[in-house]
Symmetry: C2
Subunit: 243 residues, 2 copies
Amino acid sequence: MRKLLLLSNSVLHGSGYLEYAKDYVIEFFSKNGVKEILFVPYANPFSQEKYTEKVRSELNKWGYIVKGLNEADDPHSAINQAQCIFIGGGNTFLLLKLLQEKQLIEAIRNRVLNDGIPYMGSSAGTNVATVSISTTNDMPIVHCQSLEALSLVPFNINPHYLDSDPTSRHMGETRETRISEYHALTGTPPVLGLREGSFLHVRGDVATLGGLSAARLFVRGKPCEEHPVGSDLSFLFNLVDSA
Amino acid sequence: MRKLLLLSNSVLHGSGYLEYAKDYVIEFFSKNGVKEILFVPYANPFSQEKYTEKVRSELNKWGYIVKGLNEADDPHSAINQAQCIFIGGGNTFLLLKLLQEKQLIEAIRNRVLNDGIPYMGSSAGTNVATVSISTTNDMPIVHCQSLEALSLVPFNINPHYLDSDPTSRHMGETRETRISEYHALTGTPPVLGLREGSFLHVRGDVATLGGLSAARLFVRGKPCEEHPVGSDLSFLFNLVDSA
Ligand SMILES: [Ca+2]
Ligand SMILES: [Ca+2]
């Protein structure tokens, strides 16, 4: 059974790493008997080593053992032996490119969808859990083979979803306009705008919105909708683009 | 001789289409004897037809004839006959993908760099004039063959450059951080952050910053620099990534 915790972000203004979601993260891991986490630092363009060290030192405090995929001699066997996979944020293009180059997409999908190991993603790690990275906020600092991602869920997410600021004089597209540009194209899946401090918890085909903020849902050809914290969003597994 | 007018954006808050740059645009066209403009509406995901109509109705008022590349039976011959090319904003990925699919990259480069016809770009049209679209702000709504763009200049531009807001509680990367992620990678070219209301005017190897705002220059391995309006930025043609 699919077990996912897809976080909009890892750090909330004024709080520590994953702190805002600590209770949920611990519950997610405990329920699933996780003691050891395989962390994927590929999204970090500066230093995978330092990124893994930082996450390890934080999650050690919570009582978890953290192994970095960057530290594994054989990434495939690390994935095949993992109790749980956590992909952290950074640059989504770099992350997907490395997963593609190391041919890890199918291995991760297999562990999560067939073996049912828990998957946690934050920001870019949430983007790559969806159908594609077409709704990332990141700059395309590298070129990916394709934009197709892990497809652990049949829709897209926009993490760090940001409401437009009516007082702004900046003329760059709002987040909502950017998503409407995506939905101008036929066949594009729904996009869930996850505001900072919120997350989607998925167990099988049951998806629940958690955290601190409502989410904004964009479905091609339909008006967008607000869904409050606690909403059952399981219908996202059955939505078909009818537009 | 290369003649470029690379605008950060087309619309400034509270003003009409290209209005803030009207005097410069007219001077750019007049100096180069331009009466007829070939407009490229490929960046618009909603309607190329309406986009061309809008630009035509605006530039008609200024006394120019506008042809849309979307209206040409043969885009190649339209480019080969053009007096001047103007590529408008929208989604940079969609724009580059269509230029790649229709194999227009070399044709445009040839007209601009060898025949010396004037090129004007705005926003996405400025992104594609540079080395690559790696520093676009847009979402990757479609997949491009590669991120390599027209390379009319040997550096990148970030249009709609936005300063970070110290009062913001949003934790998504600032524009400066996004560009630093790009420059974490070896061999990446300089990036000129063009704030709204500003533009780069290029004549041969002479580049001048114009408009209303200073620009922020990012060179890999160096501290970033502010350059005021009127600055001679010709040194950008000689910068080599030494980091
Ligand atoms: Ca990011
Ligand atoms: Ca745009």
